[in-house]
């Protein structure tokens, strides 16, 4: 089954979620092609995509209309290319989630969202109810449209492939939407979804200054990314893209340290596949302890500075 994978990139660099998506697409069996849609600078990402192991061909669509990944412009491009493919895969990032369902509707296909396993050519597993249940679903559509939970698949090797790059074009600007601006969260830290260690803070951190003063030194010490619960984000301690959970980012680092987070099901949905979970909470009955490998019942304002000092 031939598959087209939508690359997530920022012009120059391929997002690692793309590599996990390639693995999922390859598991269905059959050649895998990558589509890099972007502006003038997208050829650098296409060259990177061509090196990904197991990729047969890279399609490069450079057009100012695709530079900002506007779904209204990119979806018709993808739908137009799908004559040649039986399956379309996108990473379940905010970009993939925005574009893929629009493609699915254009093809009259029911999308499979956020798959975590490939069971057969048309059969997949996916979490429902905030990950409290795992469904095995089989598609009866002629083509597949799928978004992939990156943490559930190994990344394809970034080097080793030698795909050809072919220029393609699509309808361009649909004239429906325009990009106004991006208020990017600046950070020197590892990116949340690909970090090896994450230190996350919750409502207990009081305010943004306290969050910073308490969580940041520990994260610095560990070279960790910083995450947060919804409560911490809603209260403005940290930007929205720090939110881990059912409706935020799904993470699965080697080590996840939850500090002052109660462990609501929506939060657990985003982090319970982490390798080692540590929880620090003053409430011994907090649900987070039910998933933690190591739990410390303590006031975080004593325990966290002490932990930072002793690591």
């Amino acid at each position: 089954m031939s598959a087209l994978v939508l690359a997530e990139h920022d012009g120059g660099k391929l997002n690692p979620a793309t590599l996990a998506t390639v693995t999922a697409a390859a598991a269905v069996g059959g050649p895998v092609h990558i589509l890099v849609a972007g502006g003038d600078d997208a050829s650098a990402a296409a060259d990177e995509a061509a090196k990904v192991a197991g990729v047969e061909k890279v399609l490069l669509a450079s057009d100012a209309a695709y530079a900002r990944q506007l779904a209204e412009n990119v979806a018709p491009l993808v739908a137009g290319l799908m004559d040649g493919y039986e399956a379309f895969f996108a990473p379940a990032t905010t970009t993939g989630k925005n574009i893929a369902p629009r493609v699915a509707a254009m093809l009259d296909v029911m999308q499979l969202s956020d798959i975590i396993g490939v069971e057969g050519p048309k059969t997949f597993t996916r979490p429902i109810y905030a990950g409290n249940a795992i469904a095995t679903v089989e598609s009866s559509d002629a083509k597949l449209v799928i978004t992939v939970r990156a943490t559930a698949f190994d990344k394809a090797a970034a080097e080793g492939g030698s795909a050809s790059v072919e220029a393609v074009s699509g309808p361009g600007d649909a004239g429906l939407s325009t990009f106004v601006g991006l208020d990017a969260t600046e950070s020197e830290r590892p990116e949340l979804t690909s970090a090896g260690i994450i230190v996350s803070g919750g409502r207990a951190l009081k305010d943004s200054a306290t969050f910073e003063a308490t969580i940041t030194p520990l994260a610095d010490k560990l070279g960790a990314a910083i995450g947060a619960s919804r409560a911490a984000v809603d209260a403005g301690y940290v930007p929205n893209d720090y939110q881990v959970g059912q409706t935020g980012k799904i993470v699965a680092p080697e080590l996840y340290i939850a500090i002052g987070i109660s462990g609501a099901i929506q939060h657990l949905a985003g982090m319970k596949d982490s390798k080692v979970i540590v929880a620090i909470n003053k409430d011994p009955d907090a649900p987070i302890f039910q998933v933690a490998d190591l739990g410390l019942v303590a006031d975080l304002f004593d325990a966290v500075p002490e932990l930072t000092g002793k690591l």
Binding site: A130, G181, L182, L255
Partner: protein, 248 residues
């Protein structure tokens, strides 16, 4: 302008669903059902636009069983003017929901559809994008801010790298994220008033939409349970254990 708000009746977000032991699905009998939280945010946003004089009518619509009338009444108690129930006991997938909504849009001619980004039962995060595609409209998904002008809507979107702002021509679809607003609680007098607001009941066949599922659920199981580990007495033990595990 008229604003259409699709709302779904789902398991209450505070509850942990039970997977049926025969693997056929999730047991929803005797479980509290509520409006999908993202849809409450959508209703709130539409009502605020009406209160600001930027919209003149808010219509809530649900596709689901007769009991979804309660969900629609909740929307009207919050402030929506009227409701449409497209009644069916079948499970309706996002693609079919989008097709029904497209037909409702053709009848109602709203200037905007505001809906949730995700239903917390199927976690699909598809319907809004699909409806936008079927209508050929612009889509502002995962909105944390919506500014409506006469000919365009400017939407701030919660994206992985921060906040993105896009400008959409009208009519358009907006899907809500958590930070867009805090939905109001319906007050008792408004709950009483909502009982008298108009609620039309239709069926999928009224709209000539085929709702035959495209996906077949072969089984539903509980995720592997994570064993609770141990409670350590102090920070020194925590550090020692982490080192022993090779985690730091």
């Amino acid at each position: 302008m008229k604003i259409l708000v699709p709302v779904k009746r789902v398991i209450d977000y505070n509850l942990k669903p039970r997977v049926r032991s025969d693997g056929t699905g999730v047991d929803l009998s005797n479980i509290k059902m509520s409006m999908n939280p993202f849809d409450e945010i959508a209703v709130e946003e539409a009502i605020r636009l009406a209160e600001a004089g930027k919209a003149d009518e808010v219509v809530v619509v649900s596709i689901g069983p007769a009991k979804a009338q309660e969900t629609l009444r909740t929307g009207m108690a919050m402030g929506a003017d009227r409701a449409i129930l497209v009644e069916t006991d079948d499970e309706v997938e996002p693609l079919a929901v989008a097709k029904i909504l497209k037909a409702v849009v053709a009848e109602e001619n709203p200037g905007m559809v505001i809906m949730g980004k995700q239903a917390i039962d199927d976690d699909s995060n598809q319907t809004g994008q699909m409806l936008a595609a079927l209508l050929g409209w612009a889509q502002g998904t995962f909105a944390s801010k919506v500014e409506l002008d006469s000919d365009a809507v400017t939407v701030t979107r919660e994206v992985d790298g921060g906040l993105e702002t896009v400008k959409l021509g009208l009519p358009a679809i907006v899907t809500t994220d958590l930070r867009l607003n805090e939905p109001r609680f319906a007050k008792l007098p408004n709950i009483m008033k909502a009982k008298k607001k108009p609620l039309d009941v239709k069926s999928p066949s009224d709209y000539r939409v085929d709702i035959t599922p495209r996906l077949k659920t072969l089984k539903v199981v509980e995720p592997p349970v994570r064993e609770a580990g141990e409670i350590v007495p102090d920070v020194d033990t925590l550090v020692a254990k982490l080192k022993a595990m090779g985690a730091v």
